[in-house]
């Protein structure tokens, strides 16, 4: 009998340990801080693979010893970063004061009340207007633009001396590709986020819009949008986009271009240094250049990448956080962000800096790209909207659906996603 009681006691003790482990408490910000919203802050961001970000933060920390910023490095995967942020917000935890949010998450975080409006607190006058649009939801500024990114047309300058400015010029240049037994044009056409980027670009370039008014109006079923998607569908049907491009994400396209299999490619700035790097991986060093994306009648419109700094509604040190966000938008930080971390800055003036232009050969083209860029759909249900875009346009590219049907279904799916919430 005594033995059984002992067993019970032991098992209870074990259980108690397990239970206490489960309920793992989240440490909040320190409550001892005074009410003026000042104190140390934490900054949640994706993994910094360059290892340079801490140095930039140290600049702030030495000048503000009582409002130090601590970096919390999340996963390298964007989905995992978002999950970590969402979990914290749902728990109303003050653990993350500022999050480094992908531009497409900003609207959702704002609509859910997880991030605080920054109207009047951040001066956006010196920033590229397109980057400010990504941080705006329902006419209010909800985040501080931090980094940007834009698509560019990579082209083989040894084969095509002047890059095409319109889609027709691009198609005409494809005879050069045929002569050289290479593919003509490729972007990112596998069914994933990259396809949403490429389809948005084609539709925006043709003057269409997928949604308007912070996602409230669905405008994708239009003749302009049709013209845009048709350009990509024709590519596969007429052969100016090689068949295998239906499986391409960024990396597959980059490898193909570096191997000399592509004449034109739509891709992000990161490709430039890799394709230029000496070694066996690239056979196109010195043979390519970048240009703005072409459109139907003139320069096209890129989709915007990049990240915004968003202030958590649950932060206890909002005053310090806002000051720090302003600091991160200063040229002192934005310049090394470009030179050390290879991120496109959001400060317009930096793109015209002759010294930087020399250091970063694609800078002038990137500026033009971002100036003409449009955000991907701004909507609180972005993940459903992007799935609707990917799925329907992918079927159109495969020839399973007509362009008309694809856009009609896309519009219906987007409307349903918005209505469900």
């Amino acid at each position: 009998m005594r033995k059984s009681r002992l067993t019970a006691a032991v098992s209870l003790a074990v259980l108690a340990t397990i239970a206490s482990g489960c309920s793992g408490s989240t440490p909040g910000g320190d409550n001892t801080a005074s009410d003026n919203g000042r104190g140390p802050i934490t900054f949640a961001t994706g993994k910094d693979t360059t290892g340079q970000l801490q140095k930039l933060l140290d600049k702030w920390n030495t000048a503000h010893p009582s409002e130090k910023v601590t970096m919390v490095e999340l996963s390298e995967s964007a989905d995992d970063q978002r999950n970590a942020m969402v979990q914290n917000f749902q728990a109303k935890s003050s653990q993350f004061d500022v999050v480094n949010a992908d531009v497409v998450w900003t609207a959702e975080f704002a609509a859910r009340g997880w991030i605080a409006p920054l109207d009047g607190k951040i001066d956006t006058g010196a920033l590229l207007p397109a980057t400010v649009a990504t941080a705006t939801y329902n006419g209010k500024l909800y985040a501080a633009p931090y980094t940007s990114d834009g698509g560019m047309l990579y082209y083989r300058k040894d084969l095509v001396p002047t890059p095409p400015k319109t889609w027709d010029e691009l198609k005409a240049d494809c005879s050069v590709a045929t002569q050289n037994k290479m593919g003509c044009y490729a972007g990112q056409f596998a069914q994933y986020e990259g396809l949403t980027v490429n389809v948005s670009e084609a539709i925006n370039s043709a003057g269409g819009d997928i949604v308007k008014n912070s996602g409230k109006d669905v405008t994708v079923d239009s003749s302009e949008a049709k013209k845009g998607l048709q350009f990509l569908v024709d590519g596969f049907q007429q052969g100016y986009i090689p068949k295998e491009a239906i499986t391409y994400q960024e990396e597959e396209g980059r490898r193909s271009f570096q191997q000399g299999h592509l004449l034109f490619m739509r891709n992000w700035p990161y490709v430039y240094n890799l394709a230029q790097a000496p070694g066996k991986d690239s056979v196109v060093q010195g043979k390519f250049a970048v240009a703005p994306l072409p459109g139907p009648d003139g320069p096209g419109s890129s989709a915007l990448g990049g990240h915004n700094l968003a202030l958590s509604s649950f932060s206890k040190h909002q005053q310090s956080a806002v000051d720090w966000m302003k600091f991160m938008e200063s040229t002192d930080i934005q310049r090394p962000l470009l030179t050390e971390l290879s991120n496109a800055p959001v400060v317009a003036a930096l793109y015209d800096d002759p010294q930087l232009q020399q250091q970063v050969p694609y800078l002038a083209t990137l500026k033009e790209s971002i100036l003409n860029a449009k955000t991907r759909p701004v909507t609180p249900v972005y993940n459903e909207v992007t799935l609707a875009i990917e799925k329907n346009s992918y079927e159109a590219l495969q020839g399973k659906k007509s362009v008309d049907d694809a856009l009609k279904d896309m519009a219906a799916d987007i409307k349903r996603a918005a209505a469900n919430n």
Binding site: M1, K3, S4, R5, T7, A8, S11, L12, V14, L15, I18, A19, C22, D79, N83, V86, E108, A111, R112, G113, A190, Q191, Y192, K243, E244, I246, T247, E252, P380, V381, N383, E384, L387, E390, Y394, Q398, R416, N420, N421
Partner: protein, 313 residues
């Protein structure tokens, strides 16, 4: 199975009546205390999430966070409503995948087990090397196959055809089936090998003396005797295959009609932050798997007993 003759039982219970009863009451109380932690742990880690998911699945997914009780609306939406096309497509793909991989893996696994069961030089090495695909994490397997299945990858090079494996529906589905079979057939093979090793060699020898050929020996000796092991392997595999997530998620991202039920659950509850709908989907998936397992264990249970009885005779 443990059929003690009725008369023996009765005799024993008469002979040491009350003392035994008291002892057994103490024993059973001890047993209760001993299993209590396990039961409690199961309730916490299995019971609570299941009940919680059921509860959550009856609430709406409002973006403002004001979720109200909506009863079975999510279930209706998934089964017959606007989102039913996605659900049934995932249901069909998951079931088809489970069925096809099961057949392939059992056939290949059986062949592997028969070879490994033979006595020959280097058998240990073969058994160890067969396990390599199983030892590789599924996520790594998926990345590996994704590389091999690129348009200019090694698979297309070997078959000297340019197939766009992740570019259309059936190649994408086959890619997932092939990758899964490559990984799991050895596991089935090992489970079956364990079953083969308990079959006494004399049976084969006497069958040979009686003039039974290799196919006859396989169907009348090997198959019936390896059946218990086979059924356990099939059950494990089936439940595993119905939970399919990582392979298509990495290989195709669910494109080209390769979205499994689990991908749908994760997409709704995590990607789209719709906990109500996600919980409804996960409950439906859970019920489906439970139903299959229940049906299987019923069939399995009767079969195992009958096989053993026949074997004893």
């Amino acid at each position: 199975m443990t059929t003690i003759p009725q008369s023996v039982q009765t005799r024993r219970s008469i002979s040491d009546g009350s003392r035994r009863r008291r002892a057994s009451r103490g024993d059973s109380r001890l047993a209760l205390w001993l299993i209590a932690p396990t039961v409690a742990a199961l309730v916490i880690v299995i019971g609570y999430p299941v009940v919680r998911a059921l509860w959550l699945s009856t609430f709406s997914d409002s973006i403002t966070g004001n979720n109200r009780f909506i009863g079975t609306d999510h279930y209706q939406n998934a089964l017959t409503g606007p989102d039913s096309a996605d659900f049934w497509a995932a249901f069909r793909f998951t079931s088809l995948f489970a069925l096809v991989t099961l057949v392939l893996e059992v056939a290949i696994g059986m062949a592997m087990a028969l070879i490994m069961n033979r006595a020959f030089r280097g058998r240990g090495l073969l058994r160890a090397s067969v396990l390599v695909p199983w030892a590789i994490p599924t996520a790594v397997t998926a990345v590996l196959w994704r590389w091999m299945l690129q348009p200019d990858g090694v698979v297309n090079y070997l078959i000297s055809h340019k197939i766009l494996w992740t570019g259309s529906e059936w190649p994408a589905r086959w890619a997932i089936v092939v990758a899964d079979t490559w990984k799991t057939a050895p596991f089935i093979g090992l489970l079956l090998l364990a079953g083969l090793q308990i079959i006494p060699n004399e049976l084969y020898e006497s069958a040979k003396v009686d003039g039974a050929g290799p196919w006859r020996r396989f169907t009348t000796i090997t198959l019936p005797l390896v059946r218990p092991a086979l059924l356990v392997a099939v059950l494990f595999r089936l439940l595993d295959a119905l939970r399919l997530y990582d392979l298509p998620q990495i290989l195709t991202g669910g494109a080209n009609n390769t979205t499994s039920l689990s991908i749908l659950v994760v997409r709704a509850s995590i990607g789209q932050t719709k906990f109500g709908y996600g919980s409804a989907l996960s409950t439906l998936t859970f019920l489906y798997i439970l139903l299959v397992a229940f049906f299987f264990v019923k069939v399995l249970g009767t079969n195992v007993v009958r096989t053993q009885q026949r074997a004893v005779k």
